[in-house]
Amino acid sequence: MQTAPHPDAREQRDNASFHALMRALSRPGTVQKLPEPGAVLIAAALLDRECRAYTDDAALEVPLRQTGAALVPLTEADHLFVTLGSAAAVTALGAAEVGSFLYPDGGATVIAPARIGEGAQLTLTGPGIDGRLSLQLGDLHPSLWEARRRLCRYPEGIDLFFIDGARVIGLPRSTAVQEG
């Protein structure tokens, strides 16, 4: 305990990922940078034996398991790594865990790929946003926004992270999303 401690590469990466996620969620719609591209990075910073994860991407199964998290069906997962580009995927998301009024922290965290700065125009209002914020998000099925409104009976709901390479955008359940 005498010399100045130094974080190893993994600790540095997890810390940097978390700072990006924290900024993304406290400032919904703003683009934050992860230290490296990929959903695996988010999993490494957040998941362990205490977690239940779901993914629709076979390539993610091994890295998710390596965190110690149990792979479970979508409805039981607290962290979902999914693609939301199709109506079917969005419909499936409708069964995600939203927590309860007693324990809103039971609502799932959903990590999905999207094109940031392209595609549908959205306007955000709510905590973390100074007035309103407009952005474009592509590769998402348009039914997502209505499905999200149904899931987010505040304070119940899901919290979304959209990743595009190393860029990440957060959308907590407290954000109101208007299309257009």
Binding site: C51, D105, P172, R173, S174
Partner: protein
């Protein structure tokens, strides 16, 4: 998968003291706390090498955030040199290698007990408040399970009744510090016990505030640009402490929160509560942008 990816060399303790699993839990809970502003999120709360009730909640949040690039300021009662603040600051530096500062403007993480600095916080700063009692409903409902149900139902009637009774009995709201405040129009929180003077500094602020109670194992957050509204009746406005007209006997400063220092002749002297601001003013240095001007809060 190889054994190498699953194992790591043994170390006496992890970087930042908390082990990786404790940090991951803190990260998950901080994210949920941000997603539902003002709502108390339960967490396991590890034992750390300072006593419970002495800032273990704030410390766990800070140790999760900290990295060697961080600049950490720790205050207690507004003072950097108060014994417990000095102890916590030394511990954080020792286990993280982070730089420390007394200057609000220089800090990236500010851990505080009972005060929000007088200089405005920026978007790149995080305020970590140590919370002894996270439950605003405790004076009316000591049982945590019942109180949680009341939050779930947004049932704050007894809270309002308590404030009303104070007005009837004493002619004013008698709540001192930790004035119950409605966050994002939904959850009533207790803003650690900061004085009423400091509560407006959390409303629609540029910075993120994390409030963490280690002993009670609850954390909550106020993201930037989030409404924090003290519970008041339409015809009885919110009143901060009547400190606007007090003068610091050391620096001559006015219009900030003061410590009262009783004198033997029955009078009192006052000094700036935010100790490093007091030092700046004494040295004739220009402080950063202030929340209050001439004793009036200006957002």
């Amino acid at each position: 998968m190889s054994l190498d990816t699953l194992t790591r060399p043994w170390k006496a303790f992890s970087y930042g003291f908390l082990d990786a699993s404790a940090k991951r839990e803190m990260r998950r809970k901080i994210l949920k706390a941000i997603a539902v502003p003002g709502c108390q999120m339960p967490y396991a709360s590890r034992e750390v090498p300072i006593a419970r009730g002495w800032g273990t909640g704030g410390l766990q949040a800070t140790l999760t955030l900290v990295n060697p690039g961080s600049v950490v300021k720790v205050i207690d009662q507004g003072a950097d040199d108060s014994v417990n603040a000095a102890s916590i600051r030394r511990f954080i530096a020792r286990v993280s290698g982070a730089a420390t500062t007394l200057d609000t403007v220089q800090a990236t993480i500010i851990q505080s007990r009972h005060r929000v600095p007088e200089e405005k916080l920026r978007a790149d700063q995080v305020l970590v408040l140590q919370v002894p009692n996270p439950e605003p409903l405790r004076p009316v409902e000591p049982n945590m399970s019942v109180a949680r149900q009341m939050h779930a139902d947004a049932d704050y009637g007894r809270m309002w009744l308590q404030l009303y009774e104070q007005i009837v009995r004493s002619g004013r709201v008698m709540q001192g510090a930790s004035y119950p405040s409605l966050v994002n129009g939904r959850h009533v929180m207790t803003p650690s016990p900061i004085p009423r003077w400091d509560v407006p500094k959390l409303n629609m602020a540029k910075h993120l505030t994390i409030l963490s109670a280690g002993r009670e194992k609850r954390l909550f957050a106020v993201p930037p640009f989030t409404r924090v509204e003290p519970l008041v009746f339409d015809d009885v406005p919110y009143r901060v402490e009547d400190h606007a007209g007090l003068t610091c006997h050391r620096s001559g400063a006015r219009g900030v929160f003061m410590n009262e220092i009783p004198q033997e002749d029955g009078t009192s002297l006052h000094e700036v509560s935010d100790s490093q601001l007091g030092v700046k003013l004494l040295n004739g240095e220009a402080p950063g942008e202030m929340w209050y001007r001439d004793g009036v809060f200006r957002p």
